[in-house]
């Protein structure tokens, strides 16, 4: 009788063979459907005719909603596609890396977009260096930074890694996320030095008005609702278009509470006491730039509202809706209704007790000692 190990090996062989078959099949399908797809367009036409795939966008321009579309073709390379809306993938893509599968599908939808995919964990040393390099050098024009980084990741470590990279590079980025209970989400625009970075405050959460005590957490890590993901992804991409094509008001922070269909908004200044030293450095540079900027017109500066019981060092720049601000006479809460923090961090570390002692031992000796235990 074959051993378990032998059988495992055989299963793996068969799995690999299956993946290869699937890839071959989808490549054949691609070739077949090639005629259905239009070729790549070098220069966008401004004609509003049905044969122009960008005609609806041009209509938007003619209506005066959009006045700059030059940045439409941006490349995707730094977007972590893991755990983006899963409806996006197709069964025959099982076994392919998510970035590969996503590129494949997106290229079929729009052959004008250039793609670059990296199938790796950005939080490890080696990959992070490469990740930073691609953000700063991977723009459409080689050697230039990308226009915008979108964060579509599903964990704190990866968000912090993107935050670290963008603070160091001064790269503007948009963060997005869905809560673990899948009934709320958010998007956030981060301009290093200007608006709060991801490390400026404890993680923000959109209150879904679920009694945490009745929430059954045992047995599962995280729920997933493709509709919530779809809504948040839609809001994110809308904000990206507004930012890149320069129309409307770009949201600094927009929450989505799916339980009540409530969309809290706010803007947050960078925290001068942020833990990330590059965030503090960017703040210095932003201040300098602001001071140097010639004041062409008199800009009415609203009085800063700093709250005394501001535990988290969060300062509201402005309410996104001016009407709301006017309606809310009196005290403005530190965070608008519907947005809260996942936890708070006391000024003094609560950890007390002994710290590691000075040692004469070298690292190698300590490693050896650990191995011998």
């Amino acid at each position: 009788m074959a051993t378990v190990e032998e059988l495992k090996l055989r299963v793996r062989e068969l799995e690999n063979e299956l993946i290869k078959c699937k890839q071959k099949q989808s490549a054949a399908e691609d070739a077949q459907s090639q005629e259905l797809h239009r070729p790549k367009i070098d220069k966008m036409s401004a004609e509003v005719v049905d044969s122009n795939p960008y005609s609806r966008l041009m209509a938007l321009k003619r209506m005066g909603i959009v006045d700059d579309y030059e940045l439409l073709l941006f490349d995707y390379d730094k977007v972590e596609l893991a755990n983006m809306n899963r409806l996006f993938f197709q069964p025959h893509q099982a076994g392919l890396s998510k970035v590969e599968a996503a590129e494949h599908t997106l290229r079929n939808i729009n052959p004008d977009v250039s793609f670059e995919t990296h199938n790796y964990n950005i939080t490890t040393m080696e990959n992070f260096t490469h990740f930073m390099e691609r953000i700063s050098q991977g723009g459409l024009e080689d050697g230039k930074p990308v226009d915008l980084v979108l964060s579509c990741v599903d964990n704190f470590e990866a968000r912090m890694a993107i935050n670290t990279a963008c603070n160091e590079l001064g790269q503007i980025w948009m963060e997005s996320g869905v809560s673990e209970n899948a009934v709320s989400g958010h998007i956030q625009l981060i301009i290093p030095g200007e608006t709060a970075c991801f490390a400026c405050a404890p993680p923000l959460v959109v209150a879904a008005n679920i009694d945490e005590k009745t929430l059954k957490r045992e047995g599962v890590c995280a729920a997933s609702l493709p509709t919530t993901m779809g809504v948040v992804a839609g809001i994110l991409v809308q904000n990206v278009l507004k930012y890149l094509l320069k129309f409307g008001t770009v949201s600094y922070y927009l929450g989505y509470n799916a339980m009540q269909d409530f969309f809290p908004t706010m803007a947050m200044k960078a925290n001068p006491q942020c833990n990330d030293r590059y965030c503090r450095k960017q703040q210095e540079e932003y201040k300098k730039k602001e001071a140097e900027r010639p004041k062409v017109e008199v800009v009415e500066v609203e009085e800063e509202v700093v709250h005394e019981d501001n535990e988290w060092g969060i300062e509201l720049v402005s309410e996104v809706s001016d009407a709301e601000l006017q309606a809310a006479s009196g005290s403005v809460p530190d965070l608008p209704e519907g947005i809260t923090v996942a936890y708070t961090i006391p000024a003094e570390s609560p950890a007390s007790g002994e710290t590691v002692e000075e040692t004469e031992q070298s690292l190698e000796e300590l490693m050896a000692q650990m191995r011998k235990l």
Binding site: T3, V4, N121, T123, T124, M125, F128, N155, F156, E157, M160, A161, T164, A199, P202, R217, G219, V220, C221, A222, N275, A342, Y343, I345, P346, S349, P350, A351, G353, E354, T355, V356, E357, T359, Q361, S362, L363, L366, M367, Q369, M370, R371, L373
Partner: protein, 171 residues
């Protein structure tokens, strides 16, 4: 939060002093030494309390850690391989500990066998950064996870003791 025994064990682990991650070329070796000191202290403390339950070692630059952890259930010892990378944002964020051989066997795991920590862990880590180290991660993250998940996995038949497995294979 963690039970009384865990809390007591954690309070005995020495806190770390150097705020440095693997990207900090100058200070990371010092931090790494402190990590080893705290880990050695914790393992010795566990041995003394007759509760030895894991071993860890790293590559030369201390960015990748591998080891084993074990859990005694009804007098049988269940042993698992464990691994993790130290993220570039460490020690502000904790590494994601993985027990690959349990991947797909429990809902309390993310893809790749990364264990899903309780909602208490993230705030606890954030409040105590950068003084918590890998020993604290073991004590507050992996330890309580094993204590809940392993008995459950055994009762569901998803984890079978190695010797029993061998006997079954021989039949």
């Amino acid at each position: 939060m963690a039970d009384e025994a865990t809390r007591r064990a954690v309070s005995q682990i020495p806190l770390l002093k150097t705020h440095a991650g693997p990207r900090d070329r100058a200070l990371w070796p010092q931090r790494l030494k402190e990590e080893y000191q705290a880990l050695i202290h914790f393992v010795e403390q566990n041995k003394a309390a007759d509760n030895d339950w894991f071993r860890l070692e790293s590559n030369a630059d201390g960015t990748r850690w591998t080891g084993t952890c074990w859990f005694i259930h009804e007098l049988l010892r269940y042993e698992f391989r464990l691994e993790f990378d130290v993220p570039v944002t460490y020690p502000d964020t904790a590494p994601e500990v993985a027990v690959p051989e349990l991947d797909g066997k429990t809902a309390k795991m993310y893809r790749g066998g990364k264990i899903c920590l309780t909602e208490h862990f993230a705030p606890l880590w954030a409040r105590n950064a950068p003084r918590f180290g890998l020993a604290h991660l073991m004590a507050l993250g992996l330890g309580p996870w094993l204590a809940v998940e392993v008995p459950d996995l055994i009762s569901k038949g998803h984890v079978i003791h190695k010797e029993q497995q061998r006997e079954a294979a021989a039949e």
